[in-house]
Symmetry: C2
Subunit: 464 residues, 2 copies
């Protein structure tokens, strides 16, 4: 008979008709007369309670219903006498589909996250990771829906690249060369003519530059894809492989950009609050008791729009009044997370869009202000997390862009296609980048980025 998902059963009225549920056993406790099985199928964090009269079922079969086992249950959906659920299944038939021995690594409750990471292929079957993955899905869906409804096109920028975006971080080399037989030229340089792409290639660190090609043709695009950094950073904030969202918009100025950033991120947070209630309640209870309040806080407030220079003044004032920071914050310094969090959490007590950064700490492609010293960056700073979005207006003037490129002594030989956008029919445009896992950290309250992606890639670890 046709199975019904547990999320749908839990929303159903008790009735005469038989129902069928399939899933994995979370707990099973039995007495001589009756057995209670908590069954979960991933469709919701909630389990359905299966009640089985001991006398109606084979004792050996009942013994096989251990934590983690996969079973199929048929029975009547009846009003639950116990607390915590409206309905339960009074079982008439139980079939064990997959046994689960005592060596099942998710057998015990309360294992550490570090332990779970070593069993990342099985941690997905736990309440916490089920909740995180459902929220992760919902945030992706929120992002696609938001952009679709606002007339953006999802634009697939390449992963393998022969260019280097802003020289950011170390890159992974991609090759099909036989490393046992590397040919070199007369200067001792490895020859790449016979590599798959005929030149040296690596994994992209950003789709922005290609995204600008899309925006300056299609109007508004966004990327949403994997991005790579070969940084040897063993921190709770770094992954070697992570997902980025990078919208680019023709004809946007700084105000348009800030409006979009604020509207977009609020849309995502609102989606989570409206559609992930059960999972958020679980995480609010088990992981972070201020989670839901913090999410609601983001929606309530109009974000502060704060020029960097004013931000520095506030921080210096705070230092004068006795506030201690680990890192310096003089004009020209790149702000540390502690500074960002001070502004957001202590000074303004609301999200901040910081703007107009010194050019020395920002990328070459940003639009310079008339002062010649600051650039039209627009980063969104959030409580608990610091920078969640990094955005800017892009320099659309060919000569100004080239002047900045030359000032930085950048190699333009791999950037000719990017510069062409400023050569033919150039247009004002802007864009931002959002690290997807950083958003998931914020929305779930999880503390380690390795716990918000199914199979994290980190130094010395490419398991699963």
């Amino acid at each position: 008979m046709k199975r019904t998902k547990i999320i749908d059963l839990l929303a159903s009225q008790p009735g005469e008709a038989l129902v069928c549920a399939k899933g994995w056993v979370r707990t099973h406790r039995g007495s001589k007369s009756v057995h209670f099985i908590a069954l979960n199928d991933g469709s919701t964090i909630k389990n359905i309670q299966v009640v089985a009269d001991a006398e109606k079922f084979d004792e050996e079969m009942l013994k096989q219903i251990t934590t983690g086992a996969c079973i199929s249950v048929e029975g009547n959906l009846v009003e639950s006498v116990g607390s915590g659920q409206a309905v339960e299944i009074q079982a008439t038939k139980i079939e064990v589909l997959g046994l689960c021995g005592a060596d099942y690594p998710m057998q015990k409750k309360g294992q550490s996250f570090e332990y779970m990471r070593q069993h990342a292929h099985m941690r997905l079957r736990t309440n916490t990771f089920g909740a995180v993955m459902r929220i992760r899905h919902n945030m992706a869906m929120a992002i696609h829906t938001y952009f679709h409804e606002h007339g953006f096109y999802y634009f697939h920028t390449p992963l393998i690249t022969a260019s280097d975006c802003e020289g950011a971080g170390n890159m992974f080399q991609v090759t099909t060369k036989n490393l046992y037989d590397l040919q070199k030229d007369e200067n001792g340089k490895i020859i790449y003519d016979d590599d798959f792409f005929g030149e040296q290639t690596s994994l992209t660190v950003s789709g922005q530059l290609e995204g600008e090609l899309g925006a300056t043709a299609l109007g508004q695009i966004y990327t949403f894809g994997p991005t790579f950094r070969a940084e040897n950073s063993n921190t709770p904030r770094h992954l070697a492989e992570f997902w980025m969202i990078e919208p680019e918009m023709a004809f946007y100025d700084k105000t348009d950009l800030m409006d979009l950033e604020e509207d977009f991120i609020k849309y995502c947070v609102r989606w989570a609050l409206e559609k992930c209630g059960d999972d958020l309640e679980f995480l609010n209870k088990m992981i972070d008791k201020t989670l839901i309040e913090r999410l609601q806080g983001v929606l309530k407030e109009t974000f502060v729009r704060l020029p960097y220079t004013e931000g520095i003044e506030i921080l210096q004032e705070a230092i004068k009044n006795g506030k201690k920071f680990e890192f310096p914050c003089n004009w020209g310094d790149d702000l540390a997370s502690e500074h960002e969090r001070y502004l957001v959490e202590e000074h303004f007590k609301k999200p901040v869009i910081m703007t107009d950064y010194p050019k020395e700490i920002k990328a070459f492609y940003m639009k310079m202000n008339e002062d010649g010293k600051t650039m039209q960056g627009t980063d969104v700073l959030f409580p608990a997390i610091g920078e969640i979005i990094g955005g800017s207006v892009r320099e659309e003037d060919y000569d100004k862009l080239m002047a900045e490129i030359n000032r930085r002594q950048m190699d333009t030989s791999t950037l000719w296609w990017y510069l062409d956008t400023r050569r033919w029919g150039s247009c004002p445009h802007a864009g931002f980048g959002l690290g997807f896992e950083r958003l998931i950290l914020f929305v779930t309250g999880m503390q380690n980025i390795r716990d918000v992606i199914p199979f994290p890639r980190t130094p010395k670890s490419a398991n699963f």
Copy 2:
């Protein structure tokens, strides 16, 4: 003043209020008294006509309005006296935002696709590639929406992997090793302990195996991400980097799987017909005059469900009756595109789901039928394109799976995590894979896969 997208202007009624449009000039023709400018901003394939009285504008400025230039126009939206559009802009103000010289590579109409590929960064500004990219976006949105509405979770499987899924194709190696200083052990083997991940890694050829981990925990998942094949294939059907969709469903049997495949692909095609009308009409006119009819045909028909063995009988009967094929098609042979297309286009004249293939031509993870000879594959064959979906029920029985793995003498050392799904709480499950670009080829009528992705990666080419 605030600009309005051209798609919205074209849907507006003429009115008194000033409007502002910004975009790129497609054509500009002028007489002594009046100028007509066709303006496009990527929001639709349709241009808005801008009418400018010569006497009201500076002559030098008007000369700058060349094909490809970016301009901002203000004016009144008035009823159009010309044919082909309901409204046009009677310009009161024109500003040239970005000049475009005669060396603009998209200046001329009717350039070859091969020429366009060499200018892939600029071809996005043409009608054809605008249409293809808008449809590509819409197909991605259809896919996300379909799965979201059906309770699937978007599941991000890793790109960098230390495992090899079914040994499919050649893989790209990913490394941070210094190729000028490769250390080897006493047997002459390169040491990977000091590579980024501490072992040899490559780019994934499929997310399916990790996807099964997701499905056997969360119930129903799908992947949608980049996939890589380092095959030296210079054909209109191969890319080294392409996007795949791979749903996996717990508790699905072969019938459930076929139902999903048919429902899913029809949903995508219906979405295209309902939401991409203007772009499809353009492609139907310019690229393939049978396109829309073929798309509608897919929706009209119930797909044939055809066991491989019966398919072979039909093909052999056709050969007896004089049909010539280039490749053999005896029982046990992997069908070629010509065989698939004969069945779909000539014999049945409707899409076919072919099932129950000989085990020798299918992958180790497929569920074996009781005959011990065939496996529960379920591939969808389409007109014009052949196989568009490859699916199967997965073998959930640990012992049977291991027997097949051993028969094939596969190395299981990197697959322990996959086998664990069959060790603890194993469940019946099934899934399929869809090459995204193959879907886009079908829906756009384009002939070369390099023309349905913004920046194709192919042998000797990683440009842009």
